[in-house]
Symmetry: D2
Subunit: 415 residues, 4 copies
């Protein structure tokens, strides 16, 4: 089973937008291999617009030329990904990443380039033309490049098979498919065709669906056909967005499990928005960063670091590599909030092995606050309580409580 536990990795969007380069990617991969791999960090994902020679920031350019092969399949722009020269595509970059012991992922949009349909290009490995697969009325609301496909048509199936064949040849391990997760009901069939082409391509490829919010009432469809799916629109380093995630993760928490993970989006930490301004740093306070890491881990959300990692300071690296906290992603299950009021939230997650349970405290207010859970509320009397961010271990005497700073968090292993 792929994605037996929540995927962990790095994604280029938060720091490089539509303009990421091969050099950016290689640098971050090398950093991850050296500093984070042994804590479970694994995927390196190149986000949107890698086939555009002219992208320079987070903006999309209407009617711009995209690099594609003779079958209407997008290929990396060589000016940005030099190793792709000579038709080699992402293969050399994937090889490099694999050589580091990591895995390689790419972003795609559902559908095909509009130009491929207008030019009536042939579909690789089939007798169809691209114009037979494309739906001229299926476009993306925020990106001007693609047409969605007529997924009832064999031509559409042929096209999606042709691209996953290419991705398998390249050595892709992870595909983030965009313009699809919140597009129910009209993209329901398109999700199935894409997912099946992926399963049939001969290589294990994790399938991630974006953007959110994916509809909660489609949870079983998402669990069946994908490995992770976004539960919000794009997440950035702002407290209201982080606060909002408590409600979303509460609704989705019962659907987290092996092979299928509700995704709270990238971690906007460290050096962000480098394509726009190299001095940019996350706007989150340190307490907010701990809140985010604690919440993502106890809720078992996938973890995708969004910052330029080679600029990580020591504090940030430690935040990302606390093994006790990260253990919740692999060792806990059945997480859910005990309560979430306007002032605080308390989450609980048993360990799968029965050896105690995790308890997370969140202060949602702008002032310091004492959060407390009593034995009655826990239905339990554990022997000891270990604070996972600072390592302190104490005996239990009737309740767990702590003074939590504004927007901050604490998390404990009780056993």
């Amino acid at each position: 089973m792929i994605a037996q536990t929540p995927p962990m990795g790095w994604n280029s969007w938060d720091c490089y937008g539509a303009a990421v380069t091969e050099e950016n990617v290689r640098r971050n991969a090398a950093y991850m291999a050296e500093h984070m791999k042994d804590c479970g960090w694994e995927y390196i994902v190149v986000d949107i617009q890698w086939s555009s020679a002219t992208a320079v920031n987070h903006q999309y350019q209407p009617f711009s030329a995209l690099d594609m092969d003779a079958w209407g399949r997008l290929i990396p722009a060589v000016n940005r990904f030099p190793s792709a020269a000579g038709g080699k595509g992402f293969r050399p970059l994937a090889d490099y990443i694999h050589s580091l012991g990591l895995k390689f992922g790419i972003h795609i949009m559902r559908g095909m380039p509009r130009e491929a349909a207008h030019r009536h290009l042939p579909i690789e490995g089939s007798s169809y033309g691209c114009h037979e697969a494309a739906d001229p009325n299926s476009i993306c609301a925020w990106n001007p490049d693609m047409y969605g496909l007529k997924c009832e048509e064999p031509a559409a199936k042929a096209y999606y098979e042709s691209i996953f064949r290419l991705y398998a040849e390249w050595g892709v391990d992870y595909v983030k498919c965009d313009d699809i997760a919140r597009e129910y009901p009209h993209c329901r069939k398109e999700i199935e065709v894409i997912s099946q082409a992926r399963l049939d391509c001969g290589r294990d490829i994790v399938l991630s669906l974006s953007p959110g919010p994916a509809p909660l009432e489609q949870a079983e469809h998402l669990k069946k056909w994908s490995n992770l799916w976004r539960i919000t629109d794009d997440f950035w380093d702002s407290w209201p967005l982080l606060l909002n995630m408590f409600e979303r993760l509460e609704k989705w928490c019962v659907h987290a499990g092996p092979g299928h993970w509700p995704d709270a989006d990238m971690l906007p930490l460290g050096a962000l928005r480098q394509c726009d301004s190299p001095e940019e740093w996350t706007h989150f306070t340190r307490d907010e960063q701990r809140t985010m890491m604690t919440l993502w881990c106890i809720a078992r959300s996938p973890l995708m670091m969004g910052g330029e990692m080679t600029k990580n300071d020591d504090w940030t690296l430690k935040l990302l590599t606390n093994r006790d906290v990260l253990a919740m992603e692999t060792e806990s299950w059945c997480a859910h909030p005990l309560w979430t009021t306007e002032e605080e939230s308390v989450w609980l997650a048993p360990r799968k092995d029965g050896a105690g349970f995790y308890l997370a405290f969140f202060n949602l207010t702008g002032q310091s606050r004492t959060v407390r859970v009593s034995e009655k509320e826990l239905e339990h009397c554990p022997a000891t309580v270990k604070d996972l961010w600072n390592g302190a271990e104490t005996a239990f005497d009737g309740s767990v409580f702590a003074e939590i700073p504004a927007h901050g968090a604490a998390v404990y292993l009780c056993k």
Copy 2:
């Protein structure tokens, strides 16, 4: 003022769909000039897809090639409109129609051909490119050809001016602009830019907006910027659609006036759907046809004959040329229903000159039915009552009443 009274004419859609030819148009124009012109019939309108060389019926073809000039302006397909050869466009056909004493109209879609934007064609008479005017996310829900324009941009204004300049050169008197009338609010600005380009082109051109239903709450915007606008989706020869028109015309009737007319759509009479089946004839009964003509005339809807007129039988031609009935279009005003129940509808419209009023009876049931209006309900005691379909004139003695056949109508001039 153009369209001082409701436009009357012929439109190619109901009989020839997307496949109308020059020969079809000339034949019907000649027929109108000979048989109907002296009753007020005037416009000959070529409907959708005249730039497509491959259209053969009512269907649209995605990613098909459309004929266009070097500035991304659609031009007639020469295989279907031979007189357009040599870059003469619709000018020779317009000249012929004008020579008959009639006026010439064409259909357009809002926006520009998608190919014009993808190819970055220049906009005639400006320094802009088509890709600067087109909005890659503004498409039509039912036709695959065009992109709508970014109407806040000067490039969009330049494009619309360039096409109306061409239409004025061709001698166009009437433009039916499609994919726009029900597209409020996002097409509000596009209507204004198109309408202004029309007003500035140096030729009087009637502007008709399709498809419906246009939103009632936009009535004043429609009255200001167009001459007629559709109040329903496409109307065809089916009783439920005709029955439905009573409610729609009731809501819109207060907005009919000089220069601005709510449009109940084409008259599907006589020989229809010729491109699919040359034996096709309207499915309406004769009583239903009288109901339609009576309702359209008393409500002062524009009249656009939809059938192949050279196949008209004598009864159909008489239906279309009853001068007493057609007089309601020009001599009445202030039409409205006295009542519309599930069983019947009664409409009243005074003559503008004060010389009496029109009274129309409609039987909405499937059985014969007596409809009656009393002196009290009329607030009037006219001297005489003339039946306009059969010419009979009688003295008034306290009420007007008639036995009306199923789905049938009667109409009277009371004075």
Copy 3:
């Protein structure tokens, strides 16, 4: 036919709220007979809470005692209506009003007093009890006194017949039934039962339904079962409410006709809110008052003066008795707006006798403004134009226009 033209009269609510007394009513009736009757003013209507001994202003009192007879029928509170003593009800007051040549109206709520049901009182003229007619779940959202009836039950029919029998005995000519006109669909049947009890009571009684907004899609039901119905919630002397009436009357204008009139509510003119403050005077400017009178008259709304008439100043009395303006209520038909923009509205109504038409101009802005209608827009070239507020008559020379003050109006007879 009752209400052949729109009813005109006086109603006690705007000046006396729930606390009106017999003395108030007699004084206003005498005034109307002397000063206004010959212009068509006719009805004197006692509004809500006349059975409550304790009402003192516009407020309703929960669980207060209401005077009722042994059959659960409300009767006038004798402390407020002394002539009702000895069980004579409204008969003596009605006799007085009839002696003045006027007609008498009362307000009722749909349903019966809650106490009548809880006490299981018998229903007059039947073998039923009140508790068999009342629906314990049918209450009014804004008044605490009544239960609506189970109108499918014979007991409900019996109760409504019993009250209309009483009203016929009293000599009531007009009933304003409240808590019903906007209560579709659940009050649809109750309207029918009340209306039928009225028709069967042996006396012509006009039926008026309140409060609004009645739903437009129920227009034919309202026309069939009532004589007038409110098209808004309570109207008061505030410009935004008056401005809003243009849109409402536009939607309803096609439904005005003999026996059935959309009702724009009382005229809050002159001395208002006397029960709260004897110095109160309408907040409308004189121009706004003319706008209201002009609009109500051309749209043929019923006219119900709301102020204490004996305090009328000369200007107000003239406003209410301009015969040329009031003539629109009886001599015009088919009124509708030519247009209504954010700045102005122009309405037109032909005379029924064909002798010209009325044209009303309204300035909806806060500044003086020229309003103009051209011959083309009129579809007419009248010979003369008479200003009905100032009596000036001029020759027509291509357009009608006038400088209209802020929020003001002008109205013309063109012929």
Copy 4:
């Protein structure tokens, strides 16, 4: 803490409707004490209309007399509850039930009897009158007896305190408050006032809110102010209602915890609807009954037996007293579905003590079906698997699977 685990008991509604008698109650209490108490069954609850002398079945009677004391507080109808004679209320019945080692509950409607307000009765222990507390516009949509209270008023607080004072005197342990749980937002404050009066009355009283569906977005308010609340409208013995409960319990499962329990409603088992027909028996098949018990127990819903227990057959009694299954109510936590498709549902709940986890299989189809969960999906490899309905214990070898009959269930303890 009251309701530390989900309350378990018997409620009179499903078998006796509005007509339950003291004799019915005593008989069932004695049965429970003898046969079920040692498995955790504890509450005996008298449902609606115990103050009505005339109730005979499940129907409500408008404008019927309800027994009340001089302060407008409802008291038991003595013809139905003889021990209440002499003003002793429910005290003798409560004493009897307590003598059996059980607890006593009653049903109330929010608000006060309408008659109490109309009669202006005084509120016990205060200087207010009932008419000052009642809101004449706050009624129940399905029961005709009561007015809700104006909860911002001190009089309302005084009334609710007066009734809970009475209940404490009677020895009530459990109050099921009706017409309130789905009445957000307007009953939000009324819930708080009722709950606070309960907390202040000097006796531990469990508060249950009905009817459902309570709104999910009010979960934290419900958890704070009540001990259990209904998540559906009335539940009866029909498969579509049972099927529907899977989705509802999935949404609510994260909110079940000590002191606050989402309530899936009574168990319609055994002899039902006895007031209408003494031969009536549950319409559920035995497999459906097991499905219900399994689902309620793993989701930790309260359990309230609805049938006449003295008519239980042996199979039904065993269903209700399987200690291994009932243990889920007290020993598990964090229950949630692994998946719920159209065909099947699988739920998982760890034991609080870490000694394994429960796994429930449900077949939602009308045919027999194999349900299977693999080691990968479990994230676990338990040693043994015990079937809790039949007691069989087997070694785990890679998956848990079973052939489940139509609409049936199985449940396992894995450790």
